[in-house]
Every structure is written in structure tokens, then in C-alpha cells.
Symmetry: C2
Subunit: 116 residues, 2 copies
DNA sequence: CTGAGATACCTTGACAGGTGAGGTATATCG
DNA sequence: CGATATACCTCACCTGTCAAGGTATCTCAG
């Protein structure tokens, strides 16, 4: 993976909530969709994903139910709750804030001909 | 402070290196300058700062020496090394990358009239 | 029928970085 | 003399990520 785990720390929950905004989904699918959206440059590790589900459910930001697909592996679907939507909005705001803050700290410097 | 520690995780070293690019400095001063640059909205905790110094020095990205100011508390000055400069550039690149990646994951959605 | 691979879930233990709380020492000012 | 600012440092704890391991079902090739 091309992205340091320390850099994504704290954004995992936001990513998951973002996906659930579009409708109920389950772990494997969320992960696949993230992989695809980023052109295979990033994926959540399974352990990270499922820990996040536990955390989010405990906080009341999502709720879960077992799908009943008589065939294939069983799936646990997740729904974003109303508090979850609020938490998502707040976290995006915080993320925008953090980005601006960090950028202001690392890029106020002499710009001596950068490439790219 | 208004910024979650999980969100800045992994950017601490980059912030410090950014400051040392402008010249040698010491802990207390770096921290003060970060506080000022962000309008008091953010500061590194001392423990975080000094742990980072140890880490960076161990990795060879900075080197240190005691200032000789006959008066006042002693100061340990830090200098960014050549590998440190490279590491800084790499980390900024990674940060830009991470930002874009995360944004692409959380903001590909229906945009129903955002404020701001 | 058997084995491989994809789908789909889960848990455990280790690890690393941030942080609260605590400590030291010096200079200045009232 | 005590408070405040400067300036350094360390320890124990918490939390999120992740490698490694495990389970179960379905499909498809041989």
C-alpha cells in the first residue's frame, strides 16, 4: 500500500460512514469499493475494517443486521444512523480543518522552485 | 485543541522538519512558532515533541547540539541533515497523496448544496 | 468427489505514536 | 521568597492499525 497507516489513522471511520451514506452495505463490499475508487492504491485491512465496525456500532453511529441470502456466505449489513450522519459531517469538517492547519504549518516557507 | 490527535499522527515529524528547513532551532521555539502560525489553534504537546526529536535523531534526519548561552535555561538546538531534507520532501509528497486519496474516498458523493 | 479460489466473516497479540502527569533547572519580577 | 516563564526530559497508558490466524459457504475445473 502506498499510504502510511499513520496518515489515515482517524479517517477510517469517516470513510466507512461516507460509504454507508449511499445505502446499507457490508464489510467486504465497502472494502472492494474503496479499493476501486482509489484505483487499487489503497485498501483498508480487514482487521482495521472490522475493528472500526465494532467501534462505530458501539458509538451508535451504525447499526447492523444479518442479510438473508439463502445462498453464499452470510453478510452482515450496516446502516448509518442519525447520530452517525452528524458524526460524519463533523468529522469531514474536522478533516478539512486538520488539512488546512497542517498545510499552514508545513508550507509557509520559501518556495525555491519546486518541481511537479 | 481543535485537532484530533489521530488526524495529526504521522505529520508531527514533517512539521518539525519543515521548521528546521528555515534554520536551526530548539524545542520550545518550534512549538511556540507552530502555535503562532496556527493562531493558537494547534500546538504539539511537549511529550509528543520530544519523542519526535528522539525518533528523528535516531533516524539520522536531524542532529543536535547544546547551545552555549551563559544565561537562561540551556537549549538543545537541532539541525536538519541531508537525509532529513529528503525525508521531508518524501513525506510532503506522501501527505499530498494521502489527502487526495482520502478525499476521493469520502467526497465522491451526491453534492446536495454544501455550505462554505 | 475433491481441491482451489473467491466470497464473507471474525479475533488475537504485537506495535507505534500521542499524551497526561510528573519531574528538573534557571532567570526574572514583585 | 514565591510565582511565572523558559527550557528540558521521562514514564505509563491509551488507542488504532495490522499481520497472522481461523471459520464457513459457494462455484468451477478436473
Amino acid at each position: 500500500m502506498s499510504i502510511a497507516s499513520d496518515l489515515i489513522r482517524g479517517t477510517t471511520d469517516m470513510m466507512i460512514l461516507a460509504h454507508l451514506l449511499e445505502g446499507d452495505s457490508y464489510g467486504y463490499d465497502i472494502n472492494k469499493s474503496i479499493r476501486m475508487r482509489t484505483g487499487d492504491r489503497f485498501e483498508l485491512k480487514e482487521a482495521t475494517l472490522y475493528t472500526a465496525f465494532r467501534r462505530l456500532e458501539q458509538q451508535g453511529y451504525i447499526s447492523s443486521y444479518w442479510g438473508d441470502e439463502g445462498s453464499g456466505a452470510r453478510r452482515r449489513y450496516y446502516t448509518i444512523t442519525s447520530p452517525g450522519r452528524k458524526a460524519y459531517i463533523a468529522s469531514v469538517r474536522e478533516w478539512e480543518n486538520a488539512k488546512a492547519l497542517i498545510d499552514s504549518i508545513i508550507q509557509p516557507h520559501s518556495n525555491d522552485s519546486k518541481d511537479e
